[in-house]
Amino acid sequence: MTRIIPIVAFASAVVAPLLIRSDSTFAIITFGFLLAALAVSFNLIFGFTGQLSFFHAAAFGVAAYMTAILVSDYGWSFWAAIVPALLAVGLLALAVGAICFRFKLREFYFAVVTMAFSEMIRLVVVNWNSVTNGTLGMTVTAQPTLWLPTGSISLTGARTWYYVALLILVATYIICHRVLASWIGRCFAAIRLNEQLGETLGVNIFMYKLLSFVLGSTLAGLTGCFYGFYTGFIEPQYLSITQSLDIVAMVLLGGVNSLFGPVIGGMLLTALPHAINLTAELRIILYGAILIFVIIVMPSGIFGLFSRPRHAV
């Protein structure tokens, strides 16, 4: 039963634009897709490998900034700019992860250190005014163009971005799913549940932890590359700890034990503030309350309410 839900959901998402009229609905759903993609890649690290990383927003933000800067200030083509951006994020994650896992940082201390690294990167972005425009943020006016055999499409417009965002979400989902279904997923489970036992059974715990962290963070970077071009605006707030926290809230709300739970959580938490008209402060209060509620009352999240607990295989 729970295997079919993602397929049905994604299929409906493909045809849904036929029913949607208003641009604002498109916008909400598109944002939902992008944030859901962030939540999915985060859960690879958190729900499946058991590492609470507060580095996700930083990975997302760095990629967003790099792509935007290369395109706007240096005239690169969007698609070419993605490569160094993802490489940079991957290398950063590799460095941070290697340091943390080399020193065997667990759970809480890992969370705190990733928070610290995330903040340091954010401070660099905030203060490097010449390149990033500091706290004022950057506006992105360029539009990526996609060359197809039938001619080129410029990535603008609600409908186009809807499909682009959906594609990113589905791509992230599929990549994570393939990894989790493979022998790598079993190693992640070993890390999550009993590292010591996994190590004696021959699993290279350090390497697989690092793999999870780098892959998840790089996928966040992929979303980041596109995000700036969709919203047209990037600011250092994207790299903040609060942004990472929002992602954690999405995953916890939707269900930390599955890959589809984060999709639900991401879409819900994005759509909610728009469905109920809230001021910024009330929205934050709501997020905080949801976070607390989920942890204390519903640790398995929404999707966890009606799915079997997952197995290693």
Binding site: F108, N127, V248, E281, I285, G288, I292, I296
Partner: protein
């Protein structure tokens, strides 16, 4: 020049003592309830705002406002403990997430009610004392004295009174303490409320010196956690020492180094400590 350096030293010491009092709360809470309660920063901020409201808006005498604020914050701490933290005992990750959720709620509420416009208290204790040729503002001396007093009293309570020793015994060996009749559930609540009240007091005193913004808690709690980890979580006086070290280093450092990256130094320091000596510089636990 001497005036500048001594002035910065005093500032650093006060700021450090403020870090220290929150760090003390962090350490106590960790030892007894097993979580690092980041929300203590938010409670400090509440203490500051309540004091401002009592002193500026209700025209209460400053000491009355302070006491009222501390009591109110303590009550908030009681609700938080019975309603929330009761469910996250000894679960560091859940405790972290719940405390951050609580921070969001508290900060956003204060933002909503009192807006982000900085609030200032009109002079609580104007004038300075001249000691050995240096001018020291009276209020700063008073605040520093109060902080030292309270922290000292806490230390004495922990080592001399029955409650304090029970708390210490519990932090070392929960089962043995329970067997000896220590009511652990009540102890945990008492310690949480006391830590909150300490934070609230810190905030109340902070209000007499600096302008208030809803985000002041986040800044201080991060420093407080750094102080606690620096000293070694579990080391109560160490928390104060750690706080003062950080406070003074920042104060002197800001004279010579760019302030923009000041927070960054603390971060780097924190990461290095956690990597190489997770039990802290003076650590015991």
């Amino acid at each position: 020049m001497i005036q500048l350096v001594i002035g910065q030293l005093l500032n650093g010491a006060i700021v450090g003592a403020l870090y220290g009092i929150v760090a003390l709360g962090i350490t106590l809470t960790f030892g007894i309830t097993g979580i690092v309660n980041f929300a203590l920063g938010a409670f400090m901020m509440l203490g500051a705002y309540f004091t401002w409201y009592g002193y500026e808006m209700m025209r209460l005498p400053y000491p009355v406002a302070v006491i009222g604020a501390v009591v109110l914050v303590g009550l908030f701490g009681l609700f938080a403990d019975r309603g929330l933290f009761r469910f996250t005992r000894n679960n560091l990750v859940n405790g972290l997430l719940v405390s951050i959720g609580l921070i969001s709620i508290i900060e956003a509420s204060v933002l909503l009610i009192w807006t982000s416009t900085p609030k200032d208290l009109t002079y609580v204790l104007p004038g300075s004392l001249r000691i050995g040729g240096i001018l020291l503002p009276k209020i700063k001396l008073a605040v520093f004295a109060v902080l030292l007093l309270v922290i000292g009293a806490t230390y004495l309570a922990l080592t001399r009174t029955w409650v304090g020793r029970a708390a210490f015994a519990y932090s070392q060996n929960p089962e043995a303490a329970a067997l000896m009749g220590v009511k652990t559930d009540r102890l945990q609540t008492v310690v949480t409320v006391y830590s909150t009240a300490l934070g609230g007091l810190g905030g109340a005193l902070y209000a007499s010196l600096y302008s208030l913004e809803p985000t002041l808690g986040a800044y201080y709690v991060l420093k407080a956690v750094e102080s606690a980890i620096l000293a070694g979580i579990g080391n109560t006086i160490g928390a104060l020492v750690g706080g003062i070290i950080i406070g003074i280093t920042e104060g002197i450092g800001s004279v010579f180094l760019p302030t923009a990256f000041r927070d960054g130094y603390g971060m780097v320091f924190l990461v290095l400590i956690l990597l190489f000596k997770p039990s802290g510089l003076l650590g015991s636990k």
